[in-house]
Amino acid sequence: MRRVTGWIVLIVLVAFLVWGVTLIHPFGYPDASDMDDYIIENSQEETGSNNVVAAVLFDYRALDTLGEATILFTAVMGVLLLLRASKRKKETS
C-alpha cells in the first residue's frame, strides 16, 4: 500500500515539474529585466565598485547578507552544542 501511494505521488510531482518547465520564457531571452538594467547601468557611480554582483550582495540587497550571516552563526553554534561531552550523573550516597 505504501509503495503504490509513493509511486502515484512521485509521478504526479514529476509531471507537474515537467509541465511547469514549458511555461517559462525561452532560454536566453528574459523578458522582465527592468531592475537588472537599472542596476547594471548605475552601479559604478552609486557604489563605486567594478563588480556588480558584490555591489548587489553588499549594497542593494544587504539585508539578505545579514540574514545569511545569522544562519551561518546559528548553524556553527548548533554543531558545537551537539558535540559536547555529556555530564555523567554523579551517584549521591
Binding site: 567594478n50 553588499f58 545579514l66
Partner: protein
C-alpha cells in the same frame, strides 16, 4: 599522522593556499570573489592540514577561545558598518567620496583600482573572518568527535 613526505609537502603548501585565499577576499570588489569564496579557500587549506597531521596536533594550534573571539568580532564589525550610516538609511554606503575607500572608477570597462568601493571591502573582510573561524571550528569538532574523544565543556 601520515608519512614524512606528506607532512613536508603540506607544510610548504599551506602558505600559498592562505595567501591565495586572502587575495580572493581582498580583491572582492574588482574581480569575481569576495568574503564567502575566499573563506572557503582558506578552510580547505585547514582541512588539508587536518588530513596530514592528526587532530590532536591541530587542537594545540587552533584553540577554542581564539576562534570564538575571531568569529564574534567579524559579526560585530559587520553590524557596526551597517549602523554607521543610520543618518540616512540602514546599510547606507557612506564612504563613497571620502578619501578612505571612496574613489569612483571610470564609467565603462577598464582596469580596476583597489581604493574604490566604499564600505564593500570592509564588509568583505568581516564576512571572511566569520566564515574562516566558523567553518574551521565545525571541521575540527567533527574530526575530534570521530577520533573518540568529545569536545570539553
Amino acid at each position: 599522522m601520515l608519512t614524512k613526505i606528506v607532512r613536508t609537502v603540506a607544510n610548504q603548501l599551506i602558505l600559498f593556499i592562505v595567501i591565495f585565499g586572502l587575495y580572493v577576499i581582498v580583491h572582492g570588489h574588482i574581480t569575481p570573489g569576495g568574503g564567502f569564496q575566499g573563506g572557503a579557500v582558506v578552510v580547505s587549506g585547514i582541512v588539508m592540514l587536518l588530513v596530514a597531521f592528526s587532530s590532536q596536533e591541530l587542537k594545540k594550534l587552533l584553540r577554542e577561545r581564539v576562534l570564538s573571539i575571531v568569529e564574534s568580532s567579524g559579526a560585530v564589525i559587520f553590524i557596526g558598518l551597517a549602523f554607521a550610516g543610520i543618518g540616512t538609511v540602514f546599510f547606507y554606503n557612506l564612504l563613497v567620496g571620502t578619501p578612505i575607500f571612496g574613489r569612483v572608477p571610470a564609467i565603462g570597462p577598464g582596469p580596476g583600482d583597489i581604493w574604490t568601493g566604499g564600505v564593500i571591502p570592509l564588509m568583505n573582510f568581516a564576512v571572511g573572518l566569520k566564515v574562516i573561524a566558523g567553518l574551521s571550528a565545525v571541521v575540527l569538532a567533527l574530526a575530534l568527535f570521530s577520533g573518540g574523544e568529545e569536545v570539553e565543556e
